[in-house]
């Protein structure tokens, strides 16, 4: 006996709209059970997890800081994945974007022109895009699997950053500690409002999301993405080039990851150091799928995922539950979203061993 997934003939519109909410509700129910088993008040725990971080202005700013790189990377990845290009290396493009974007302030710490910041952002995007061009080239030229190449390039990028910050770019006045000089004032991405730390990176994320949503919805390019993603052959009949799409989606997602990288370094950290990301490039993959590869959905899912991080901290401090709980939460959420989505399109069928055998014989 085994279980089979069978495609449903018709997909319920009602459920496909409500499935994320259903998933969230299921996550909460399981969360309540989990807190109850841990001997904590479920209401208090859920409160400090999901409500407390939203009640204070500074904390909302932190939410934006945390969500910005996730959204920015994830909307780019969504275009990749919709077009059937599997860029897993956003973490590396993020890192290279941070490095190329930092060239100006690190090499010219005395340059106090307002031009520096726009140039940094452009160089960050260019760096991320060029780094994503490597797997794109390998895929179009040699038919190499981009999942492997983009992933392995992540480690190269991280080690390169590591080498830079310990070696040539190390702050000579920094007691040999591995980080660059702090960026000059003009090279720091400003805060949006004076009430907290949220910087322009969050605005970039929102703009990118809306722009890509518009592209997918109203522009020929978006249509090409969908068609080529669903069937390359159909795309060819329509005169769309799958090869050009590889380049387009990889460069786009690389550039956005690079922008996220330099925004994070310039806006949140203020200098380069060996570790600049707690895995944003990988978490963004989860964000992209939670947002169902829809740029506007990704804004929501990015905020929700950022909230689970902040909530995890708040809950640790106020009721003393382990930080692993927030990871369990993230896992539960992803699990339920994916399973709800799957069950909308498929139904589960139990196949009895005997029946199968009979089928084969006949």
């Amino acid at each position: 006996m085994h279980i089979e997934l069978e495609k449903r003939a018709r997909v319920s519109t009602l459920f496909s709209i409500f499935s994320p909410l259903l998933a969230l509700a299921l996550t909460l129910v399981f969360g309540v059970v989990m807190f109850w088993l841990l001997g904590k008040s479920p209401l208090g725990a859920l409160y400090s997890f999901f409500i407390e971080p939203l009640l204070e202005v500074w904390s909302l700013h932190e939410l934006a800081v945390k969500a910005a790189p996730l959204i920015l990377i994830a909307v780019g990845l969504a275009i990749c994945y919709r077009s059937n290009n599997w860029n897993i290396g956003a973490e590396g493009q993020f890192t290279i974007g941070a490095i190329t974007g930092s060239i100006l302030p690190v090499m010219n710490p005395e340059w106090h022109s307002p031009m520096i910041l726009p140039l940094m952002l452009l160089m960050g995007m260019a760096g991320g895009a060029l780094y994503a061009a490597i797997p794109a080239l390998l895929k179009t030229r040699f038919n190499t699997n981009e999942i492997l190449t983009s992933l392995m390039l992540v480690y190269i990028a991280q080690l390169y950053l590591d080498w830079l910050t310990r070696g040539p770019w190390r702050d000579p006045q920094g007691y040999n500690f591995p980080q660059t000089k702090s960026f000059q004032m003009e090279a720091v991405l400003p805060e949006v409002l004076s009430s907290g730390r949220a910087h322009w990176g969050f605005i970039f994320a929102l703009v990118a999301a809306v722009a890509l949503w518009f592209m997918m919805r109203f522009m020929l390019k978006g249509f090409q993405v969908s068609v080529l993603g669903q069937s390359e052959r159909a795309g060819r009949f329509a005169g769309f080039s799958a090869r050009r799409m590889v380049w387009f989606s990889m460069l786009l997602s690389g550039a956005l990851a690079g922008l996220a990288g330099i925004s994070e370094v310039s806006g949140s950290i203020g200098h380069l150091q060996p570790s600049i990301s707690p895995g944003y490039g990988f978490t963004a993959i989860i964000v992209a799928f939670l947002g169902r590869l829809n740029p506007l959905g990704i804004v929501a899912s990015g905020l929700v995922l950022a909230l689970t991080y902040l909530g995890g901290e708040a809950a640790q401090l106020s009721i003393g539950i382990s930080d692993k709980v927030s990871r369990v939460f993230q896992g539960l959420l992803l699990f339920f979203v994916l399973s709800c989505d799957t069950l909308i399109h498929y139904k589960i069928r139990l196949v009895l061993a005997g029946a199968k055998a009979a089928e084969v014989r006949s």
Partner: protein, 357 residues
């Protein structure tokens, strides 16, 4: 619907209000932020043991919330700010990488007191504290030279910062005081906390023929590898004897508890001042785990060295010492000053590695 939301929010706020109201019985909050898991068996666990000792000693007057697994960088700044905002009176930030974040938050919250472990940036409300780990490493070096058949030990290092370079040098100096030809191989794991990488580094060193292993990373993984391969090893930060009952010779055990109690007491008395503290074996911030798996004469030698360091008779960095390339560094009888040690970025003679620059 709107009303429902307001009602929910109000009741939620009430809930929150009650819970904080119940906690606020004039207790001071002393908060801890950890880079790793508090059950890592090494660095973070040592801090958490200190926190628990503080809880035991002054639990009626303080509570000690903590955050664990906080990545260094922007996340740390948010986490520390959250602590300051949640009413912490004193915050211990227990990893070098929290330095800049601690400085920033300390500027924002002048009424909250901060103490940063192993850093060098201070402020009126930001103290630093550190331990002279190198004293323990010198003793380990001596033991290694006695116990190694090949005169070759392996060192799993984290990052090439002065703190770590100092430890490598101290180990080599200790070993050379027994066996002038003693060699030390180094592998840079580039992490404080990563059992997989640490274990790989241990295997790489053992494959290169070392028969003694020591580490400046946080987990017990290298000790476990050493135990599997049947060589001897030293523990780091916590007593790792459970991971290698037949393997561990001794361990440098960070005993932060007494320090945390002292500083919290100062906070309660209102005598807390920002200081730059660098204590060693004699102050009890650092202790040696029991000397095991070695003959009695080696044990006696180790105990003697420990006593000499405690009494001040022996300073591990006393000349004559040459740098790695053979050029002289300290003249006979000359002692390295603290400033030089804290900025150390060169090897002493006998270290078989090129310092990453």
């Amino acid at each position: 619907m709107k009303k429902l939301i307001i009602a929910l929010a109000a009741s939620a706020a009430l809930l929150g209000g009650f819970s904080t109201g119940a906690q606020a019985q004039e207790k001071k909050k002393v908060c801890f932020i950890y880079v790793g898991s508090r059950t890592d068996g090494g660095w973070t666990q040592a801090h958490d043991v200190g926190r628990q000792q503080l809880d035991k000693a002054l639990g009626s007057k303080v509570e000690t919330p903590f955050l664990e697994n906080v990545p260094e960088g922007p996340d740390a700044e948010r986490a520390i700010e959250r602590m300051a905002r949640s009413g912490c009176d004193l915050v211990f930030t227990t990893s070098f990488g929290f330095m800049d974040a601690t400085v920033k938050v300390a500027q924002k919250f002048p009424n909250v007191k901060f103490e940063h472990a192993t850093g060098f940036k201070a402020a009126p409300n930001l103290a630093t504290y550190n331990s002279r780990f190198y004293e323990g490493r010198y003793i380990q070096g001596q033991i290694a030279a006695k116990m190694s058949k090949k005169g070759l030990a392996g060192y799993i290092a984290s990052f090439p910062i002065p703190e770590v370079v100092m430890g490598i040098n101290a180990f080599e100096l200790g070993a050379k005081s027994i066996n002038p030809d003693f060699k030390l191989k180094v592998v840079w794991a580039n992490t404080w906390f990563d059992p997989g990488k640490e274990a790989d580094a241990a295997k790489a060193l053992i494959d290169q023929g070392v028969d003694i292993l020591t580490q400046h990373t946080d987990t017990t993984a290298p000790m476990q590898v050493a135990a599997e391969r049947g060589i001897l090893a030293f523990g780091q930060a916590s007593d790792m004897i459970a991971a290698g009952p037949k393997t561990q010779l001794t361990a440098i055990v960070d005993t932060w508890g007494a320090y945390y109690i002292k500083r919290t007491q100062a906070l309660l008395d209102g005598t807390w001042k920002s200081e730059q503290i660098w204590d060693g074996l004699k102050d009890g911030i650092l202790t040696m785990a029991p000397y095991t798996n070695m003959p009695d004469d080696v044990k006696a030698m180790a105990e003697e060295t420990e006593a000499k360091i405690k009494s001040g008779e022996l300073h591990p960095f006393t000349g004559p010492i040459n740098k790695q390339d053979g050029s002289p560094w300290l003249k006979a009888g000359e002692k390295a000053d603290d400033g030089t040690l804290l900025g150390m970025n060169f090897y002493v003679e006998g270290v078989d590695d090129k310092l990453p620059k």
